[in-house]
């Protein structure tokens, strides 16, 4: 069974075609690297899988369940249980590091007593023990991305979508975060779809690389 299956998916905004009848299969536990120039449809692909963008035509299935059929959303984004690491982390500026995670757990119906423990555990996983009460404005770029990663993992997803997560970081932090991602994927058996501008760095942990151009697959290896 494929973790992600896209069948002739097209996404248009006005006259612009962002994804053009794209068909794609991602196997379970695969780490798919998606590369391509700006405007090639990389982020739209992730948003379509997540349910944040709705396709005009085509079907999206996740782990054998059809999630959308054309423009009809069968499983809305909030019920897909997908982890999404945004380019800038997208940390909520008014919540502490621990609260970011607890807020997610609240919506996964985790008991109040359990939430604080799980938040600490997740922060420890990303090597941010003691950062529980730190606000996003006081975190460095790397720390913020690790909090965002912990938050994305809080829903215990089987599928993790990464939208250029290393973009704003310097070389050392990129290497450290990549190593952490590889380790987590192995340990949790995650399927990862990873959009990046710098494929050479992530190639070591990727199982396949896909090159997009103008919303179509140009090359695959």
């Amino acid at each position: 069974m494929s973790a992600v299956s896209l069948d002739a998916v097209s996404v248009r905004i006005g006259a612009r075609t962002l994804l053009d009848a794209l068909t794609l299969e991602v196997a379970e536990r695969e780490h798919l690297l998606v590369v391509g120039p700006s405007g090639s449809g990389k982020t739209t692909l992730l948003r379509t899988i997540a349910g944040l963008a709705s396709p005009d035509t085509g079907a999206v299935s996740l782990f054998g369940t059809q999630a959308s059929d054309g423009a009809r959303m069968l499983v809305p984004a909030e019920r897909r249980r997908i982890g999404f690491l945004f380019q800038n982390g997208a940390l909520w500026p008014h919540m502490s590091a621990a609260r970011q995670i607890e807020f997610v757990l609240e919506h996964a119906a985790v008991a109040a007593r359990e939430r604080a423990r799980r938040a600490s555990e997740l922060l420890e996983w990303v090597e941010l023990r003691g950062f529980e009460q730190r606000m996003p404005a006081t975190l460095s770029g790397g720390e913020a991305q690790r909090v965002a990663l912990a938050r994305a993992l809080a829903v215990e997803p089987k599928l993790l979508l990464l939208d250029e997560p290393l973009g704003p970081l310097d070389f050392e932090l990129r290497a450290a975060l990549l190593a952490k991602l590889g380790e987590l994927q192995q340990r949790l058996g995650l399927t990862v779809v990873h959009v990046t501008h710098a494929p050479e760095e992530a190639r070591a942990i990727a199982t396949r690389t896909l090159r997009l151009r103008a919303g179509r697959i140009e090359d695959e290896r």
Binding site: E78, R81, A90, W92, P93, H94, A148, R151
Partner: protein, 512 residues
């Protein structure tokens, strides 16, 4: 965004803001329209448009330099003068008219132009100041390398001009729809200064025919709408044009020997627009020409509190209710305006209650709610909140939508991916991130509600407010009581903004 929530908010807006107008429009007969062509409406409209243009030009002339000097230069006390710059906007224009006609013995058109320009220049100043401070340092640096400070001004002025023009458009709209200032300066004696809003008021007062009053208001409505449409476009351009994600703010521009002349200009403008009027009211409350004393001042204030306690309470309660309702409704509508392409079609409808002359909107409220089934509401103070919410919700919605435009959509996406539903996303993610804008919307609507007079003139429930009491009282002579009541009202108007400045660390976002 949740569709039922947006539909509920839109339905409430239709009931509060559009239904009074729709009912009024239905009462216009062909006779009413033909009467428009036989009356002296055209010259009056021309004079009113000229009045609005003159005031908008003066507001631009005063507001742009004030905004630039307080936001972008090393002028002494710039950070103190900048927030004080909104005080003239907060003062009811009629109060400024009361003072300046007495202090400078001004009458007729010059008095109306002077008072309205003083009252509206802060609209331009706050828009211009925000635009100037949002220009990225790298843009200025690039210009500075080309041709120094002069090149910086030439490069940045076009970026600040659209928002400043948006402020000028709003100044025009406020001026041509204002009834209180021309009415007051004309009431003082010759020379009279009649404007179009007067004639709408008189048409209803004499004929009590809604259709005739609506027909009379149509040209003014068209003029207002014609101004608000470009104002909205300029607002969108001005709010977003100069903001980049990795924004770098610029260092203040050194004025050199011009620092103190600049200070004199800004402080002088504030003195004329706020401090002299407030000082004069304080002087009048303490006895004025009869001899000033603290005893007289205390007597005037205790008399104001004793005789107008109920009016003041009604004003505050209805302003608080209006501001709260507008913030909640404005958040839902403003978020939908920014995040949904379909909801954007709502924007022109939102400005309609503000585009019609205030007097006419008040009459619409009477026509809509003066029925047996709604008699309890019609007679209660709640109707004032209903009236003011319908009229002012546009400000809260536009402030919210402007703030949502600057909010990273991925914050909401992240919550959505975590399984958070639309109402909770709005309450737990969007609202906290927008708190200074929501507080700004609250303060703005609170202030506008407390100082509103024109829309409330014909609504019986609104005849028991502090502003109406002052309006009534000044027509029966001025004394310490009126001055004390006016000062009390000013204190209440500036109180929320003052509390925010003292206790909040973020700046209040007052701009739509």
């Amino acid at each position: 965004m949740s569709r039922p929530l947006v539909l509920l908010a839109a339905a409430l807006f239709v009931l509060l803001g559009l239904a009074p107008l729709a009912l009024m429009a239905a009462r216009v007969t062909p006779e009413d329209l033909s009467a428009l062509f036989t009356s002296d409406a055209a010259p009056l409209l021309g004079r009113t448009a000229l009045y609005g243009l003159g005031v908008a030009a003066l507001a631009l002339l005063l507001g742009v330099p004030f905004g630039f000097l307080t936001a972008r230069t090393d002028m002494p006390l710039a950070s103190v003068l900048r927030p004080l710059g909104v005080v003239p906007l907060f003062l009811p224009p009629m109060m400024l008219a009361m003072v300046w006609t007495a202090v400078a013995q001004m009458r007729g058109a010059p008095a109306a132009y002077f008072v309205s320009a003083l009252s509206t220049f802060p609209l331009v100043a706050v828009f211009a100041a925000r635009a100037f401070e949002r220009i990225d340092a790298r843009l200025e640096d690039a210009a500075r390398l080309v041709g120094g400070t002069r090149a910086v001004l030439r490069a940045t002025l076009p970026l600040a001009l659209p928002p400043a023009l948006c402020g000028a458009c709003l100044a025009f709209v406020f001026t041509i729809n204002d009834f209180s200032v021309p009415d007051y300066v004309s009431w003082l004696g010759l020379p009279k200064f009649s404007v179009y809003a007067d004639s709408i008021y008189a048409t209803w007062r004499i004929d009590a025919r809604a259709g005739r009053a609506v027909a009379m208001a149509l040209p003014l409505f068209a003029l207002t709408l014609l101004t608000l449409v470009p104002a909205l476009a300029l607002r969108r351009r001005g709010a977003l044009a100069s903001v980049v994600p990795d924004f770098r703010s610029s260092a203040p521009i050194a004025l050199g020997p011009w620092r103190w002349p600049a200070f004199v200009f800004c402080a002088g403008l504030l003195a004329v627009g706020a401090f002299i009027p407030l000082g004069r009211l304080l002087w009048e409350a303490g006895g004025g020409h009869k001899g000033w004393s603290f005893g007289e001042l205390a007597t005037a204030f205790s008399m104001a509190l004793e005789r107008s306690r109920g009016d003041v309470r009604n004003s505050v309660v209805s302003a608080l209710a209006t501001a709260s309702a507008c913030v909640v409704l404005g958040l839902v509508l403003g978020h939908a305006l920014e995040r949904s392409r379909r909801a954007r079609a709502l924007e022109p409808w939102l400005v309609l209650p503000l585009a019609v002359p205030a007097v006419l909107f008040g009459i619409g409220i009477v026509v809509l709610w003066n029925r047996d089934a709604t008699a309890a509401l019609y007679d209660s103070n709640a109707l004032v909140a209903v009236l003011l919410t319908g009229r002012f919700v546009v400000f809260a919605a536009l402030i919210s939508s402007g703030a949502v435009a600057a909010l990273d959509p991925s914050l909401e996406d992240a919550a959505r991916m975590a399984g958070v539903g639309p109402p909770r996303r709005l309450a737990c993610i969007v609202a906290p991130a927008l708190r200074s804008s929501l507080a700004g919307g609250f303060v703005l609507v609170f202030v506008l509600s407390l100082r509103e007079l024109d829309a409330t003139l014909f609504v019986p429930a609104a005849n028991h407010t502090a502003m109406f009491r002052i309006f009534n009282q000044i027509h029966f002579g001025r004394d310490g009581f009126v001055a004390a009541l006016a000062l009390l009202l000013v204190f209440l108007i500036v109180l929320p903004g003052l509390l925010w400045s003292l206790f909040a660390r973020k700046r209040l976002e007052l701009l739509p």
